[in-house]
Amino acid sequence: MNLVEISGLTVRFGAAPALRGIDIAVAPGEALGMVGESGCGKSVTWLAALGLLPGKARIEGSVTLQGQEILGAPAATLDRLRGGRVAMIFQDPSSSLNPVHRIGKQVTEALGLHRGLTSAAARAEAKRLFELVGIPDAQRRLDAYPHELSGGQNQRVMIAMALAGQPELLIADEPTTALDVTIQAQILDLLNELRREMGMALVLISHDLGVIAETCERVAVMYAGRIVEEAPVERLFAAPSHPYTRGLMAALPPIDGPRRPLAAIPGTVPEPSALPPGCAFAPRCALAREACSVAIPPDRLLGAGHRAACLVADDALVPA
């Protein structure tokens, strides 16, 4: 059984839709990447699933955790699973930690909530977690405040805090975006290593295909509140079929071969309040046909575990 199944998830903020029907599943122990530009809804998907969006968001659809519906579940149920079975870390670690609490206390708080550990036992476990995520001088660091640590160290604290509840799924929302490039690699390595050791599933949200390629087994590409393509990572890189995915790939510099100018995707992402009818990418798509602007293209299966919501995907799949 899948660990998490999201189906038909829609979110609107007032009149503007942020998600327009998301279907995605995460298997136990799997690493899923979610890629797309800022505002495409990749973070909103998981914030909505965990009930972390502000009250004005209108959420519909279904999110199940091992078959149990969690969308709209009572607050007490959500509090138990958040930080317990499903943990989440965020983009800017330094502002994601409470500035007035010692970092040790922030970790032991989670240990108390999910594992019933208090005082000395909680502190010992927090120290162990700090060591696990590679925080040097862990014992002393427990008493530090977030502003006394670097961004990379704070992200390690966030990861330690996420691990406190021994989660089955860790959602990492742009975990390396705010960090220096050298630190980025360290944090990704750490996430990979922890996932293997603890057998937990990982959802890695990123706008960086390179980061996803390094870490994930499967990728979902999002555009304007929908998943436009989903495939195993090797297949996506070998045979990107949605024109948007191909556009993203063309914008990446090749590691070998001759240097070429990077191709930008023309135009901009449409405003959520002014989405075109039909395919949201059609106005920017070189391959768009008349039919593309009539109705939202349905998903088409293009191979094992490979789907794309594009009318021309079959043709586009033909290697250029």
């Binding site: 509090d79 317990g84 708080e109 405040y145």
Partner: protein
């Protein structure tokens, strides 16, 4: 930390010095106390004798140096009206003022902070709008208008409470409410915006994401952060315990420090006015100093900053 304290103390001392100097100069330039106290019809010789007796015939510089010198010896001068020490006159009024301002402070804190937090947590709800409407009204209506309004309703129309004087605790009710409502309104607005600011911070989402129940997110994660800006305004309220009731004491004929000051200013009773101003600025400065220390306690970022950082 010692350097930080020394710096703040020096600043506090300079503030007091400036207030004392300013009050001294302005009082002497804005009217002749001898003429005012002796009356317009007093014979010229009598006025001159009065000036000599109180040292008003000396140059401003001489008077000033003499005054500052006597402050350091603990002598704050005597009232020109009855010859009693100014410090004693002021001191005997302090309890009456505190009898209004301390209950009013509790009213401000007890009403303003919960109302602000509640409004922030229920942003844009009907109750939030009502709280904010009352708060805006509470701090835009001047205290003398509010005071007179309360007198009109509860003393004149309903006859439930006395309109002025200090005979019993019932006399304190209307002035305390008048003082309290304005401050509660300011505090409610301040607390609400501090709370809203904090609730939008990423660390609040982190707390929810790790499974902290919402009530504990508010009390354990949001409130300590929202307290940082709110402490400033509370400190200011502590600082105005002595001086904050000037208008209300006048409206309700309450014999406190504020009324003493109003009368003393009208009479150009120099030593008394100066003594009140010294006391008022001292409480203000002391409150600010305490707030600075409190910041260090509740905000660890400032604590290390004050120690020279790392």
């Amino acid at each position: 930390m010692a350097r930080f304290l020394a710096g703040r103390l020096l600043r506090a001392f300079i503030t007091l010095f400036l207030v004392v100097t300013f009050a001294f100069v302005v009082l002497r330039l804005s009217g002749d106390p001898a003429q005012i106290i002796m009356g317009a019809d007093a014979p010229h010789e009598a006025v001159a004798a009065f000036r000599q007796a109180w040292g008003l015939d000396k140059s401003l510089w001489e008077q000033y140096l003499g005054y500052v010198g006597s402050i350091f010896t603990g002598d704050l001068g005597r009232s020109m009206r009855d010859g009693r020490p100014a410090a004693a006159l002021v001191a005997e009024r302090i309890p009456a003022t505190l009898a209004l301002t301390i209950p009013a402070l509790f009213l401000k804190l007890g009403l303003g902070i919960p109302a602000g937090i509640y409004a922030a947590l229920h942003r844009n709800s009907a109750i939030d709008r009502v709280v904010m409407l009352v708060a805006v009204a509470g701090f835009t209506i001047p205290s003398f208008v509010l005071g007179l309004l309360l007198v009109l309703v509860f003393a004149v129309q309903l006859g439930w409470l006395p309109s002025g004087g200090q005979e019993s605790w019932r006399h304190a009710i209307l002035p305390v409410i008048t003082l309290g409502i304005g401050g509660a309104a300011v505090l409610a607005r301040f607390t609400r915006s501090a709370m809203l600011e904090v609730l939008g911070q990423p660390y609040i989402r982190t707390a929810s994401a790790k499974g902290v129940p919402w009530r504990r997110v508010v009390s354990g994660h949001a409130a300590p952060n929202a307290a940082i800006p709110t402490v400033t305004i509370i400190g200011f309220m502590f600082g105005s315990l002595i001086a904050g009731a000037v208008v209300v004491e006048s409206v309700f004929s309450w014999p406190g420090v504020g009324r003493l000051m109003v009368v003393a200013v009208a009479n150009r009773d120099l030593a008394v006015v100066q003594c009140v101003l010294l006391l008022v600025s001292f409480t203000m400065v002391a409150a600010n100093f305490t707030v600075d220390l409190l910041y260090g306690l509740i905000d660890p970022r400032l604590r290390t900053g004050a120690q020279g950082g790392h």
